[in-house]
């Protein structure tokens, strides 16, 4: 049993900023709105407040200790109520190291220890320890209990090229996300901007001619697009995936360096994603569904194995990194023609009503809704074309589209349950829907293949079932 240790004192800073972050906007609003003599008292109050936060941070740091045991990792924390958590070595699934710019200045890392629990919280996280210490912990508690030998040949590894990185950014389609973010930021700032300034801006906008407004909108969109590229480049900077004996190791990021370990046996499914922007260019992203990992919390629902590559490269990539998951390139069993109308209906019914309503109530804009209607019908058609499956031994390839076209490879033993559904219209036409459930980060993922031929759904469930004699 090693001695009891504390985090690097820089952890106080991280704790402090974390606490401050929640309050800073209110403190600032106070500073701006309060005038005259009140301001002095207010400033004193703010200073006192900051002092309290700092004290809490220091106490938290002082009371947080960890200990590296023979077979377990122990942490103790809590200022008044002491909490102890012991994590057995065998339960530890992965240890992620990451470093933000402040970490990098002091040569520190953040250590996150994951167990198999289905929750999205990390089991234990050390805010800041020395890099060497972090690596030592990682070595000590590495994934499985099997003693790992040094691999004889150089481990397989793939790096993202700068060209691909830029392309990934340009086609990321994160424009919408950034727009939403800007709107959120603006709604916060709006409270601070003086009213007359706001009114003037609005008046100025109204005064502009239509051409200017269109140009302005285009400029804003391009700006956002470039922001999206920058965001992607920062996030996936130097994206590297390396294969060791029974893990995949992913490192990425410029400002915040992420280091993630994916034990191979926790992979539930592997798939490729062709987004609507990338598909015509022949580029795809490769992802995996991994049980109980919390890397990239909330950013995406699956773990990216590689953000962008040519569709033709996928086979070689998988053969290299996940030979068990090489996606067979065989013709899929697709949906019969009589199923297409259901897709067209589902895709467009909402827009159909909207378009009808707009013609009635706001005829001026009905062209917009008719355009949306056409697009939605087209998407419905694409979805019907891209739905299918192919069984090969113990594996099944399924393909479907919501917006992006997904091709997923699953093993029978990874499928938690399979459900065949049929509503009364489908029954008349011998169509049925198959729902396949697997474990994924947020507990579970369902894949639905709708309006397959009933005979084909029976083939799928017979393949899955242990009762072969039906």
């Amino acid at each position: 049993m090693s001695k009891v240790r504390r985090l690097h004192p820089a952890a106080i800073l991280f704790q402090f900023f974390k606490l401050l972050k929640g309050w800073v906007i209110y403190l600032l609003i106070g500073l701006i709105t309060i005038k005259g003599e009140g301001l002095i008292y207010y400033s004193l109050l703010v200073l006192l407040f900051i002092f309290v936060l700092l004290t809490i941070s220091i106490l938290k740091w002082y009371r947080f200790t960890y200990q590296i045991g023979e077979d377990e990792f122990r942490i103790e924390y809590g200022i008044f109520i002491r909490k102890k958590r012991y994590i057995s070595k065998h339960r530890i699934q992965s240890i992620d190291l990451s470093a933000n710019p402040i970490h990098q200045i002091f040569h520190l890392v953040k250590v996150e220890i994951e167990t198999a629990g289905s929750g999205t919280d990390t089991e234990a996280s050390l805010q800041a320890v020395k890099l060497a210490e972090g690596e030592k912990i990682r070595e000590r508690f590495k994934g499985s209990s099997i003693q790992e030998e040094q691999p004889k040949q150089k481990p397989a590894s793939k790096n993202i090229t700068n060209k691909d990185l830029l392309l990934a950014g340009a086609t990321s389609g994160s424009t919408g996300v950034i727009l939403a973010l800007l709107a959120a930021v603006f709604s916060e700032i709006e409270q601070i901007i003086p009213d007359h300034f706001y009114d003037q801006t609005v008046a100025w906008l109204i005064g502009l001619s239509v051409t200017y407004i269109i140009l302005l909108a285009a400029a804003v969109l391009i700006f956002i697009w470039i922001l999206g590229i920058v965001g992607t480049v920062l996030k996936y900077w130097n994206f590297t995936i390396t294969k060791t004996e029974n893990e995949l190791v992913i490192t990425r990021g410029l400002l915040v360096k992420k280091h993630a370990t994916i034990p191979l046996k926790r992979i539930q499914a592997v798939g490729i994603k062709e987004s609507i922007i990338r598909q015509p260019l022949g580029y795809v992203a490769v992802f995996a569904e991994v049980a109980g990992s919390s890397l990239d919390n909330g950013e995406d629902f699956s773990t990216l194995l590689f953000p962008i590559m040519k569709k033709g490269e996928v086979k070689r990539f998988l053969q290299h990194f996940l030979p068990d998951y090489t996606i067979p390139e065989e013709r899929l069993t697709t949906i019969p023609k009589r199923g297409i109308k259901y897709y067209l209906f589902r895709g467009s019914v909402l827009f159909f009503i909207l378009a009808g309503g707009s013609m009635f109530f706001i005829p001026k804009y009905s062209w917009l809704f008719i355009l949306l209607l056409v697009i939605s019908v087209y998407f419905g058609y694409l979805r019907s074309k891209d739905c299918g499956f192919h069984i090969k031994g113990e594996r099944v390839v399924i393909q479907f589209r919501v917006l992006s076209k997904m091709t997923v490879l699953l093993y029978k033993k990874r499928i938690q349950s399979m459900e065949n559904k049929q509503h009364f219209l489908q029954r008349k036409e011998q169509l049925a829907t198959v729902k396949i459930s697997i474990i994924a980060r947020e507990g579970s993922a369902n894949y639905k293949l709708k309006e397959l031929d009933e005979a084909d759904t029976n083939i799928l469930s017979d393949w899955y079932s242990f009762q072969n004699n039906r």
């Binding site: 049980a291 033993k413 938690q416 459900e419 065949n420 049929q422 029954r427 899955y464 242990f466 009762q467």
Partner: protein, 159 residues
């Protein structure tokens, strides 16, 4: 679709469901009556009351008379050595296969209404999904729970 599973759930399920539905429908009528009084009081158009009554009558028929019976007719289950096979659904017929090795735990539960009829539900959970077989005879439910629990062994290779 596949051949339906063999076993039906308890015939008393229909009664239990009818009572449960009656409670909800009763609340619906109560709301309708209160709304009716208010409408009457303020002399708002009468057609609203008539519409509400028609909707309530239709709901009463559907949820108390028609659907419990239909639902019971569709509900089937069968437990094999290696998998559980469940069928249910009125408008959408659904057949679910759950392999034994994927089952993580089995529960039985019993609300006041089920208790009155000596019924219990069995809930089967995998790592990703949960499945319920509702309203079995008590003993049958407990026996089934124990049997599934015995048959379900977690795969070594599993997470």
């Amino acid at each position: 679709m596949r051949e339906p599973p063999k076993h039906r759930i308890s015939a008393d399920a229909v009664k239990a469901w009818k009572i449960t539905a009656s409670i909800y429908i009763g609340i619906l009528w109560l709301i309708a009556i209160i709304a009716g009084i208010i409408i009457w009081f303020f002399a708002w158009p009468l057609w609203i009351i008539i519409a509400a009554i028609v909707i309530n009558i239709v709901c009463t028929y559907l949820f108390i008379v028609l659907l419990p019976k239909k639902r019971w007719e569709r509900w089937r289950y069968e437990v094999f050595e290696q998998e559980i096979y469940i069928q249910h659904g009125i408008l959408i017929l659904s057949q679910t296969l759950v392999p034994m090795i994927r089952v993580q735990h089995v529960d039985t539960k019993q609300g006041p209404i089920l208790k009155k009829f000596h019924l219990a539900s069995v809930t089967i959970s995998t790592a990703a999904t949960t499945h319920e077989i509702p309203a079995l005879d008590e003993e049958n439910a407990y026996e089934l729970r124990d049997r599934i629990s015995r048959l379900a062994r977690v795969d070594e290779d599993d997470v």
